[in-house]
Each structure stands twice: as structure tokens, then as C-alpha cells.
Amino acid sequence: MTVSNQEPERIAIRQAARWLTELHDEGLDAAGEAELERWRSACAENEAAWQKALHLQAQFERVPADIGHKTLNRRPDAGRRALLRSLAVAAVVLPSGYLGLTQEPWKEWLADYHTQVGEQRRVALADGGFVLLNTDTRIDLASDRDKQLIRHYSGEILVQSSAELGSNASTPLRVATEQGELETRNARFLVKQEPDKDQARLAVLDGSVRVRNRSGRYQEINAGSTARLFAGQAYDLRPVGERQLDSWSQGVILASEMPLKQFLAELSRYRNGWLRCDPAVADLRISGVFQLRDIEVILDGLPVTLPVRVNRRTDYWVTVAPA
């Protein structure tokens, strides 16, 4: 078609394919063999193409005929195609959830805020409150005279509704996520998107937050409780306990006998690239206070306290494996 087809490698491949086609019909006679030899030795591209031909032959020779037919010529997988079709349909039919439902004619769009991986950012709210965006997070913030709305798209936020907790803010604050809608006048709380599970996590640290479901009913979640938000409802209410869920807002991760796998999953939220935990060391426990501002230092320090080594194939691809 284009110039690239005329490249010597490409031409050699086509010629090699022709030779193979001849060879596999009724074979080559002596003259044919000699001709093939001449072709091979004519240039490096030809020889390289022929090496590929030999490789292809060798691979086929390893395959017994009956196994080859049953595997390489298997019927297309009907079940799998049906599954893919149903997934495609589901993706179209499912509504975009609360982000869509809460579309309102906001008069003033203040902005869209986001953080990169490893970044945090504080955004002030009316009434002296704030939203703190953790790593890799995106929100829109809208407000007018009588309400404030945070649309939370991804990542994790810590929200405080007013400058001083205990006093009600003059305007209600709402947080809309794909999985449910929250409302409060007086609270400090965390919302974390978990797209893998198609849910969000809510943890109320102070005050109380109401979860409004699709039929307009409210569930009240009080300080010290966490809940899973899914399809507009809060599930699995549990006590926050001793866990310092907002320690990231102080720039640290607190770990107390945390399984290494979980610890690395947490760290990987703050750095670009793939941080893999070898299953052999996944259950080692780690404790301590770790500074988020330099994740690489934390990683490099792991072998000091744990029987592990840190393999860096590239900066984007790090594996923690048994020492």
C-alpha cells in the first residue's frame, strides 16, 4: 500500500511466505532447493525472514495434530461473546448515578479542583470550612446563597463543614458521589472513592452526616462510624475505632501491625507506577509512622525492618519480594 510495504524486511517476509507456500504443497525439487538457498544467502533480510520461517515450522512440529485441531481450531467461545455483549449493554443502560441525578442549575460554578498523584490540596469553603483533597482526587465545587455542593469524582477528600465544629454552618453542605449523596451542617468526615468495588467509603469523625437515598429518605451517620455507600444507601455501619483514617491530612501514614500488602497498596496511591507485593511477603506486618512526602525513602527502608528486597525494574515498576 504505502512506502512501508517496500521496506526490505517487509519484502523479504513476503518472499519467505511464498517459499513456504511452495514448500508445503508438494515440496521442492533439487533445483527449487538450490534456488531457495540462493535466495536465503542473497541478503541479511532474507536470512532473517527465513529464520522466522524456521521458527514457525518448529512451533508447529511440537503440536500433535489432534491437540492442534482441538485447540487452535476451537469453536469461538459462545459464552464469552454473550458475556461481552451483556457487559456492553449494562454499560449503556446503567445511569450515571447521583452525579447525574443531582444536576441542578447552579448559578455559580466555583471551580473544578484536582490533585496529581502524590499531591494534596486544601480548598476553602464558605463559613470557614474546607475540603482537603488527597492524592489523585477530583472534585467540582459549586455554591450559591443557600447551598454548597461538592461533586466528588475520584480519590479521597476530608471535609469540614465550618471553621469550628459544634456550631451549625449557615448553609447546608452537600457532597454528591456516584454512589450516594451526603448532607450536613456540622461535621468533619472523609469520603473515599473505591471505583474497583463501585462504592465509596464514608467515615464521620465529628458531628453527623445524613445519607440521602434515591427515594428521598435519610440515614443519619454519627461521629465515630464508617459506612459503605452503594446505590444511594449506606451499608455496613461500623465504628471507626482507633484507626487514624485522616492521618494523611497530617502528611503521614500510620500503620499498626498492618499487612505489608495493604501497606504497599496504600503507598501506591501516592506514587506513580506499579508497586507490586510478592504474595510470599504479603502477610508480613509493619508498624510505624511514615512520612508521605517521600515514598521512595519508605520503600528503600523496608529491607531494614523486614526480610524483603525492593526490585526496581523501572521507576514505574517496583516489586517487593522476599530477601
Binding site: R18, A48, R62, A65, I67
Partner: protein, 179 residues
């Protein structure tokens, strides 16, 4: 994380691009894949693979390809990887079924089995996009050693067509091999 300001050659400049590409796109790509696969760890693996492909392109070419629409580009790459994932899964199933039908005393050694699996995986990948008629003709020749006339008879097509199919299949296979 970032503090990589010592960029003195094109390599580290491209790395920054890959970094920002990863930062911006890895998380939606994972959720996109999750919706397709229904398994978060597979989704994470494949998303990672998609970026590794980019990394490989960069290492081969020295720079990242000029990508106008990263989302479209990444979904295309990831879509291919998903397709590949399902292809391998169905190959694996077919292989296990075929093995189960072989009498015990014909069973081959561990090494043969490994080589066989390896060969099947590579051949299956090569043959994946061939038209069914081309593929069947090719397999009748390569697995059973039938002549093109015999294959033509079996498939009710002319010998010339079979020859065309064969040339097409050989060329396609050779193009996918990198030694």
C-alpha cells in the same frame, strides 16, 4: 515521585510524559477494565500491561508516540489486551479438554508439555485474526500435511484459493514473529 528535574536527554523527557499520562489516565482505565472484566486485580494487571506496552514502545523508539487522544489510544491498547486475555483463557480450556482425552500411556514428558503449551500459545496468538477459512486450510496443511488439492476438496474451494490462503497465512504469521 516527581523531583526528577535532571532531564538532560530525550529519554527522561519522555519519562515525564509517561508519568503524567499514567497519573492522568491509570485510574479511569482501571475502572473501565473493571467494568469489562468484573475483577479488580485482573483490571489492575491489564491496565498496568497497557502502560508497559507504552513503555516498550518508548524503549524501542526512544520517544513516546505522538498521542492525540490518550483515552482512545489507551482503551484501544487495553481492549486488545482484554481480547488477548479471553483468548488465552479459552485456549487454556480447550487445551485441558484435549489433554484429558489423550490415553495415559501416550502422555508426554513435562518438558514436552511445556514446549507444547508454549507453541500453542504463540501459534494461537498468530492465528487469532485470520479468517476462519484461511485458518482451517492452514491448519490442515500444517498439522496434517495435506496437499493443497486435498485441502481444496475438503473445503470445497479451488486449489488456487488454498494456495492464496496459505501464502496469506504464512505472511501473517511471519509478520507477528519477532526473534
Amino acid at each position: 515521585m516527581s523531583g526528577n528535574h535532571s532531564s538532560s536527554n530525550s529519554g527522561s523527557c519522555a519519562a515525564t510524559n509517561l508519568g503524567s499520562m499514567y497519573a492522568e489516565h491509570s485510574s479511569w482505565l482501571r475502572s473501565w477494565l473493571y467494568k469489562k472484566l468484573g475483577c479488580s486485580s485482573q483490571a489492575a494487571d491489564i491496565a498496568q500491561d497497557a502502560f508497559v506496552r507504552l513503555l516498550q514502545v518508548r524503549e524501542k523508539e526512544g520517544v513516546l508516540p505522538e498521542i492525540q487522544q490518550p483515552r482512545a489510544y489507551l482503551t484501544r491498547v487495553a481492549g486488545r489486551l482484554v481480547h488477548d486475555h479471553f483468548r488465552r483463557q479459552s485456549l487454556e480450556r480447550a487445551y485441558l479438554e484435549a489433554l484429558a482425552q489423550i490415553p495415559e500411556d501416550l502422555a508426554c514428558s513435562e518438558l514436552d508439555r511445556l514446549l507444547l503449551r508454549d507453541a500453542l500459545e504463540e501459534l494461537d496468538r498468530m492465528l487469532d485474526s485470520l479468517k476462519p477459512a484461511v485458518k482451517t486450510a492452514f491448519l490442515l496443511s500444517q498439522l496434517e500435511g495435506l496437499t493443497y488439492a486435498q485441502i481444496g476438496e475438503r473445503l470445497s474451494v479451488t486449489e488456487r484459493s488454498v494456495k492464496r490462503y496459505m501464502a496469506q497465512a504464512f505472511e501473517h504469521c511471519l509478520l507477528t514473529i519477532s526473534l
